[in-house]
C-alpha cells in the first residue's frame, strides 16, 4: 500500500513539476466552459441542471485523458527507468496501480475545479444536487476507463505520440459504439444481438444513466470491469516485455 502511494506521489510530482499540468487544467476548464455556455446554450435553456455541462465530457476526455496518460509507461520505456522500477521490491500491480491512481487523481482535481459551474446553477435555480453528484461520478468513472485504456497503449510503445493516437482510437470506438447517431445507422442492417452487445460495451449508454441521476450497479460494474480489464492487459504487456 505504501509502495503504491510512493509511486503515485512521484507521478503526481512529475505532473506538477512541469507547466503541462497547469496548461492541461486551464484547457480543460476553458473547454468545459466553452461547450457548456456557448455551444450548449446553458443560459438560454433556462433549466437548472448541468445536462449541457456533462454531455460534452466523454468527448473532451477522448483527447484530454490520452494526453494525461500517454507518458505513464512510454516515458519509463524511453528513459529505461522501468529497469530501475522493476528491480526494486515492487510488484507489477503496485506499479500499475500507483501510476493509474496518480493520473486518476490528477483528473479528479481538474474535475473538482469545475465547481464554479455547480455554484452558478445553485445560484440561478434549485438543481437536484444528487443528480449533479451522480453526473460527476459518471464523468469520473468515464475518465478512469479511458485512462486505463491509455495505460495499456502507453505500455505498448516508448513513443508518447503513438501511445496517444492508439488510445484515442480505442476510446473513440467505445464512444461511437453506443452513440445514438451511429447506432441509428447500424440498427438498419446489424442483427439485434450485435446492437445489444455494442450498446453494452459502449461508454455512452452507461454514462447517460449517471446523467439522469441513476446510479445503477450494472453501470458501476461496467466501468470497474473496464478499468480492471485494461489494467490487467497492461500487466500482461509489461510482463511480456520482460519475458
Amino acid at each position: 500500500m505504501r509502495t503504491i502511494w510512493t509511486i503515485a506521489r512521484r507521478e503526481l510530482g512529475a505532473y506538477f513539476s512541469s507547466p503541462v499540468a497547469y496548461v492541461f487544467i486551464v484547457i480543460f476548464l476553458l473547454l468545459t466552459g466553452f461547450f457548456t455556455f456557448m455551444v450548449g446554450r446553458f443560459f438560454e435553456r433556462g433549466s437548472a441542471d448541468l445536462l449541457t455541462f456533462f454531455v460534452w465530457h466523454p468527448w473532451l476526455y477522448l483527447f484530454l485523458v490520452p494526453a494525461v496518460g500517454m507518458r505513464l509507461w512510454s516515458e519509463e520505456l524511453r528513459l529505461g527507468t522501468m529497469e530501475l522500477l522493476f528491480t526494486m521490491p515492487v510488484t507489477t500491480w503496485q506499479a500499475i496501480l500507483g501510476k493509474f491512481l496518480a493520473s486518476w487523481l490528477f483528473l479528479l482535481i481538474a474535475l473538482i475545479l469545475t465547481f464554479p459551474i455547480v455554484v452558478t446553477v445553485e445560484y440561478l435555480g434549485h438543481p437536484d444536487l444528487g443528480r449533479i453528484l451522480a453526473g460527476y461520478g459518471g464523468s469520473f468513472l468515464t475518465a478512469g476507463a479511458f485512462l486505463a485504456i491509455t495505460c495499456m497503449t502507453s505500455s505498448l510503445t516508448r513513443n508518447q505520440v503513438v501511445s496517444f493516437i492508439l488510445s484515442v482510437v480505442v476510446c473513440l470506438f467505445l464512444i461511437l459504439c453506443s452513440w445514438p447517431p451511429v447506432t441509428d445507422i447500424v440498427v438498419n442492417w446489424a442483427p439485434a444481438w450485435l446492437i445489444d452487445a455494442l450498446a453494452n460495451i459502449g461508454v455512452m449508454t452507461h454514462y447517460e444513466d449517471f446523467q439522469r441521476g441513476v446510479v445503477d450497479s450494472r453501470d458501476l460494474i461496467f466501468f470497474f470491469s473496464a478499468i480492471v480489464f485494461f489494467l490487467f492487459t497492461t500487466s500482461v504487456i509489461l510482463r511480456a516485455r520482460r519475458a
Partner: protein, 316 residues
Amino acid sequence: MITVEKLTKSFGPKLAVDNISFSVAKGEVLGFLGPNGAGKSTSMRMITGFLSPSAGKVSVCGFDVVEQGLQSRSRLGYLPENAPMYSDMSVFGFLSFCAELRGLFGSTKARAIDRVVQLCSLQPVLFQSVDTLSKGYRHRTCLAQAIIHDPEVLILDEPTDGLDPNQKHEVRTLIREMGREKAIIFSTHILEEVEAACTRAIIIDRGKIVANGTPAELKCRAPLAGTIVVSLSGIGWQSVQPDLSTLSFLDKSELISESDSKTMFRLQPKGDLLPEVLTLAQKRKWRIDHLNVEEGRLDDVFRAITLPETEKASVE
C-alpha cells in the same frame, strides 16, 4: 550469495546468454568481462529479476529470483547500464523516492540519504535536476540509489562507463571497499579495472563463459606470459644464437630487434628457464641491459580468448 545455474536467455532465435553457471560469495568482487554484445547486461538483468530466464536458475541470498522475487530484489542493489533516472526529479527527490521504495522512511531515510550522498560525493548537486547532471554525477547518483539500503548484493553494469580517470578511480576504490562485506558483480570492458578492483573475473563471449579465475590466473593465460625478454649490448644475434641452443629448457627463441650495439630477443620457456639463462649470461660475460619475465597482460588474454577464429588468424 549469488548462485547462477545453467542460466540461458534467448531472444527469438538468438542466444544472448548460453548456459552459464557461477557463484559469488560474500567478500568477493566479480568482474564481468566481455566484448560488446557478449551478454553481460542480459545476464545481469536476469540476476536482478528484470528479465526472466529462458532456462536455468538464479538465487540471491538463497532466494530464487523468479519464485521469491520480492525477497531477492530487496536484498540487492542494481545500477543499470547508462544509469537511467527520472528526468523530472532532483537528485534528492530521486534518492528519496528510491529510499521509500526500499522501505526506508522518516529518519532512517534521512540517514540513508546522508550516507550515500557522502559516499558518492553528491553534495554539490543535491538539489539539481537529474536532467542537467554531467555524466559523472549521473552515474554516481544512480550508484547512490543502488547502495541506499546497504544491500548484501550489488550488481553494477558498467559503473565507470563515461567517467573521467579521477572519477573512475574513485568508483573503483568505492567498489573495492564495499566488496569486503558484500557480494558484488560489476561489468566492464576496461581491463585495468579488473586488476584494480576484482578478486575474480569471468570473461564471457557470445553468451558463454570462456574464462573464470583471479586476475593473476587469467594473466598466466596470455600468449606471452612467462616469456623472458633479454636485451644485450656489444654482441650480435649471430653470436648469441649458438649459445641459446644449449639451453635445455628453451622452447623457442625469437629476435625482437638488432642494431649495431644492441640485440633484443625473446625466449619461450618449457620449464625453469630463468636460472639457466642467468648462468649462461655469467659464463659468456654478456652485458645485460635489460631482462624481463613477462607477466602477461589481461588485454592479450582478452583478445586471445574473445576474438573469433577467423580474425585470430588474420591478426597473426
